[in-house]
């Protein structure tokens, strides 16, 4: 494939990525699949290293309490978002697929909430029975 044409197509496409999602999912024919400029991947790659270093620093400098937990969750969500949106190309998929894949995991919030309540309850009963 002619490299110049390919990268031009790709850049024109990236500019309209959100407005023009049909292109990102075109799989037939020659200009197939998810083609995006290398620049995007290299940037995201660098950002992932930066945020991983940040989360390691949270432990290295022994931050504690609310600051530690909020920073851990913040860096985790940023990294997860970058991986799913760019590396896994979710940003360029159609909304129907995004909904089908990203909404069901929200049920897990209910599971986590219930298990947190249950865990706290078990702790209190154990503490009452064995420790006090």
């Amino acid at each position: 494939m002619n490299d110049v044409t390919a990268s031009e197509t790709v850049q024109a496409h990236a500019g309209h990525a959100t407005a023009d999602q049909g292109h990102g999912t075109a799989t037939q024919g020659h200009g197939e699949g998810q083609q995006h400029p290398l620049r995007i991947y290299l940037w995201i790659w660098a950002l992932l290293f930066v945020f991983s270093t940040f989360s390691y620093m949270v432990d290295y400098f022994q931050l504690h309490g609310l600051l530690r937990w909020s920073l851990i969750i913040l860096f985790m969500l940023v990294k997860a978002g970058l991986i799913v949106a760019i590396f896994m190309h979710m940003r360029w998929e159609r909304l129907a697929l995004k909904f089908a894949i990203l909404i069901p995991p929200l049920c897990l919030l209910i599971l986590i909430g219930l298990m947190a309540i249950e865990g706290a309850h078990t702790f209190v009963t154990r503490w009452g029975a064995f420790v006090r």
Partner: protein, 229 residues
């Protein structure tokens, strides 16, 4: 490019919420992407639930135990020149996995450019990084089992649930990485032999990439909740 109105022979799909309704209600395939990609996404969705169950049960046992939870920062520290460095091996493993995710993303890109040599090389590099991740994990397990005396039913440092949660979560993730290394090697060989040129599409490389990025994604959560928390 503007004229590629047909996505698998269908008219250009509408954007936004209207597009969701059209995709689901139209007399057509709901997701205008290769079926392999949809299947992989659905598999990854189910895998998300499996790993979430592991992490949620870990949260539950950690909240409910009255014994102190071993401090992962200390458990996983390494001595470098007499100085203990917290979580050093885990940090290196994290970086290795992110590097492999980057090489995989580039492999997908070069695959769609039909650059067989670069795609194969990048996929093999990804597999090699994955294999080194598993090796480091084996070293870590060995250290924990033999030197620290951690067992699934107890350990000298505190809450007995630490071992079972650790072995289940990292073991299942390591299994995914090992399977991914095999998967990547098979697909890399097919790229090299021109299988996808004959097939006419490199979408399999992207689907393989989805799996590999997911393995990295799971590690992001394990790193945050198990090692840093």
């Amino acid at each position: 490019m503007a004229q590629d109105a047909s996505i698998a022979g269908q008219p250009t799909a509408a954007p936004g919420l209207g597009g969701v309704a059209a995709d689901w209600s139209g007399d057509k395939q709901a997701f205008p992407v290769p079926w392999g990609k949809v299947m992989m996404w659905i598999f990854l969705l189910s895998d998300t639930f499996i790993f979430s169950c592991f992490l949620t049960s870990y949260m539950n046992v950690r909240m409910s135990t009255t014994a102190t939870w071993p401090d992962p920062s200390k458990v996983f520290q390494l001595e470098i020149g007499g100085h203990p460095v917290p979580l050093l091996l885990i940090a290196i493993m994290t970086m290795v996995l992110i590097t492999s995710s980057g090489t995989m993303a580039l492999a997908v890109n070069y695959g769609y450019r039909r650059d067989r040599a670069k795609t194969t090389a990048l996929m093999l590099a990804t597999a090699a990084l994955g294999a080194s991740f598993v090796s480091m994990q084996a070293f870590e397990w060995h250290k924990l089992i033999v030197e620290e005396g951690v067992r699934p039913w107890g350990n000298p440092m505190g809450a007995p649930q630490f071992g079972s949660a650790f072995f289940m979560i990292t073991g299942f993730h390591g299994l995914h990485v090992s399977a991914g290394v095999v998967y990547l090697s098979v697909v890399a060989r097919r790229v090299w032999t021109g299988f996808y040129d004959r097939k006419g599409t490199y979408e399999t490389v992207e689907v393989t990439g989805l799996y590999w990025h997911f393995v990295d994604l799971v590690w992001v959560f394990i790193f945050a909740f198990f090692y840093l928390w």
